[in-house]
């Protein structure tokens, strides 16, 4: 048995075989072919191979998970055989002598965009299916062996260098027991995804790529370890711990819908971080009392054009409607820098985390910002929708953003549209400058939401995606906790409320400290909600205050975590 050490990224224990996620490159050239007939024949041959592959996938899915789950592959086969699509491809090849890769991509993309333009959220999601089918045929045309997960047949622990958001889309979640990456820190995409799905994960385990496929592994997401080829006794021990963990979760789940009130009667809000309509429905089920962070990037990613106001309005409205009178906080577009949109043509930057992103980009490009503000104002009509601006560094940015919002409101009213009459406006506090100036900023807004993921990396000047230094960017750093304390105090002094939507809010060891510092709203990933509520209910505000005070006098993150562990044992089943 060998033990690999990484960063604990998402709690839980996974036991199963290793599966290595390998990247494939689907870039193709666009060229003129000599014989259109030969090219169309090549295209048809690839389509036939794809059809055979899909028939096999369909049969397997049907045998394993039933007709209902397998139906999507039936739809994929029909897409491959689609007469309208094939006619378009054939015509393009025959009339323009275009190569098959280009003709097929153009035609499927046309349909994908047509589907994306529909009002219905579920039909729009079918665009991903069209693209999935196109990618399968492209792989065959390009001679790229198979998809990164084509061989993934049994539930496995996924090993990868790192996982981008689009990689994770390709993973069949029902076959993923846990994740382990060689790079990245606790707030890298893979880690965030794992926590949002409730999957155990370890990141930054540099030697993980040396583990061959199918090796039996035990992954401990709380300790940050990966045991390679453990003996039977060790496996049995971890199975028992896995079962005990499941019992605690089942136990706290019973009271997931009860409010989070401390033993001495102090109530706080426990809300969800979500990124789409499906998340909204799941959030209610998990016991969320609203949404503390609605990421709007889902509307912009995996597209070829900017979503227009109407598309955004319908998407936001569907989400707000799910929550009725409960609050939903929409975070305006947080892209630029490391998160890019191909159709925006943003220049490469030396230092994307410090670059033209989020509110900076939106203020620089009003044509990007205004449709979103208008859509939000309309979606908020008669509902409890609030907006917040990400990456604010100074007061002037808030003034500009607010004035743009007011302009949009005036325009909509002049157009006779119904808009949110009173919409609370807040900012994310994630830049140290904003934390330090919280007293001045508080005068400009209705609330703050502290983003501890970015706040820690900026405060400690440590890139959270760099495994060598990611440990420095811990939100348990007393430096970060002191900033959190100051932000809450500054806001409360001016009668404003404060939420926290970083990963810290759902972290069991951080909850007593945040409660003690006076945090009003805890916003977290869905799987963390039931336990977080139970922890809050097990405490008194007074004992939380004492722990918070003691924690702020310590020297390092480990000491802070040890202190909480010692003083406040987790609720047990």
């Amino acid at each position: 048995m060998k033990t690999l050490h990484g960063i604990a990224a998402s709690p839980g224990i996974a036991i199963g075989p290793a599966f290595r996620f390998r990247q494939v490159d689907l870039r193709y050239g666009r060229y003129t072919v000599e014989s259109a007939d030969a090219e169309w024949a090549r295209c048809q041959a690839a389509l036939e191979t794809a059809r055979k592959q899909l028939a096999a996938v369909h049969a397997k899915a049907e045998a394993e998970s039933g007709a209902e789950q397998a139906a999507i592959f039936e739809a994929h086969i029909l897409m491959l055989e689609d007469p309208d699509l094939l006619e378009m491809v054939q015509k393009d090849i025959e009339e323009h002598n275009v190569n098959a890769e280009a003709a097929l991509s153009d035609a499927t993309e046309k349909y994908a965009q047509m589907l994306e333009a529909l009002d219905d959220e579920y039909l729009r999601a079918r665009a991903a299916d069209v693209r999935d089918v196109a990618a399968r045929v492209l792989r065959i045309l390009l001679g790229v062996a198979e998809s990164p997960t084509a061989g993934l047949a049994t539930p496995s622990i996924i090993l990868a260098t790192d996982l981008t958001p689009s990689d994770t889309v390709m993973l069949d979640k029902s076959l993923v027991l846990g994740l382990c990456t060689a790079q990245g820190g606790a707030t890298s995409h893979a880690a965030i995804l794992a926590r949002s799905l409730g999957l155990p994960a370890v990141v930054g385990a540099s030697q993980v790529l040396e583990v061959p496929d199918d090796t039996i592994l035990v992954l401990d997401g709380r300790e940050g370890t990966l045991l390679v080829q453990p003996d039977a006794g060790t496996v049995a021990l971890y199975r028992e711990r896995q079962a005990a963990g499941a019992r605690v979760l089942a136990h706290v789940q019973q009271w997931a819908h009860e409010p989070a009130v401390t033993r001495d009667g102090h109530r706080v809000e426990v809300v969800a971080n979500i990124g789409n309509v499906e998340g909204a429905q799941a959030a209610l089920g998990a016991g969320a009392e609203g949404v503390g962070l609605l990421r709007t990037e889902f509307l912009y990613l995996e597209r070829t054009h900017l979503p227009d106001e109407e598309q955004q309005y319908l998407a936001y409205r569907a989400i707000v409607d799910t929550f009725g009178d409960l609050p939903v906080i929409l975070r305006t577009l947080d892209i630029g820098g490391d998160k890019k949109l191909p159709y925006l043509e943003l220049p490469d930057e030396m230092n994307p985390f410090l670059g033209l992103r989020a509110i900076r980009l939106c203020l620089a490009r009003p044509e990007l910002f205004r449709p979103q503000l208008r859509a939000a104002l309309r979606a908020g009509a008669g509902r409890n929708l609030k907006v917040m601006f990400p990456m604010v560094a100074m007061v002037a940015e808030v003034r500009s953003a607010r004035s743009m919002l007011e302009q949009c409101r005036a325009e909509l009213l002049a157009e006779g549209k119904s808009v949110a009459e009173e919409m609370q406006v807040g900012i994310m506090v994630e830049i140290p400058a904003a934390a330090v100036m919280a007293d001045r900023l508080a005068a400009q807004v209705d609330f703050f939401s502290i983003g501890t993921n970015d706040l820690s990396q900026y405060t400690c000047a440590a890139d959270r995606t760099n495994a060598q230094v990611a440990w420095l960017a811990s939100a348990f750093q007393p430096a970060v906790l002191r900033l959190v304390r100051d932000v809450i105090a500054a806001a409360h002094a001016r009668g404003k409320w404060v939420g926290l939507c970083g990963e810290l809010a759902g972290e069991p060891l951080a909850i007593p400290i945040l409660l003690g510092l006076g945090l009003d709203e805890f916003s977290m990933n869905l799987p963390a909600i039931p336990l977080a509520k139970q922890i809050i209910r097990s405490l008194t505000l007074e004992e939380a205050r004492q722990v918070a005070q003691a924690a702020l006098e310590l020297d390092d993150p480990e000491a802070v975590q040890a202190l909480v562990k010692e003083r406040m044992p987790l609720p047990a089943a």
Binding site: A71, D120, Y122
Partner: protein, 89 residues
């Protein structure tokens, strides 16, 4: 040309699985079959075009068929839609 007007009662509308069943049924016939929803018209044998109609729950669609087995095709599609795509017994 025979045509029939149908209402989609399926709770999610003409989505992936109902649309697939619809197209598979249409493909069993030689007739040229069109589906109209509002201003959009689709080839009933093209799943992409049928999905792109955006026919949600409650949508009213018109199905037209032309060819030797036109009547049979309309009967089969009507039965499918009225049985809520096989989910109603």
């Amino acid at each position: 040309m025979p045509e029939t007007t149908l209402t989609i009662h399926h709770q999610v509308g003409l989505h992936a699985r109902p649309a697939a069943l619809f197209v598979q049924t249409a493909k069993q016939f030689r007739s040229n079959i069109k589906v109209v929803h509002g201003a959009k018209e689709a080839n009933a044998k093209s799943i992409l075009s049928v999905l792109a109609l955006g026919a949600e729950h409650g949508a009213v669609i018109v199905v037209r068929a032309e060819g030797e087995d036109a009547d049979q095709s309309l009967a089969a599609l009507t039965a499918l839609v009225e049985s809520d795509f096989g989910e109603k017994t």
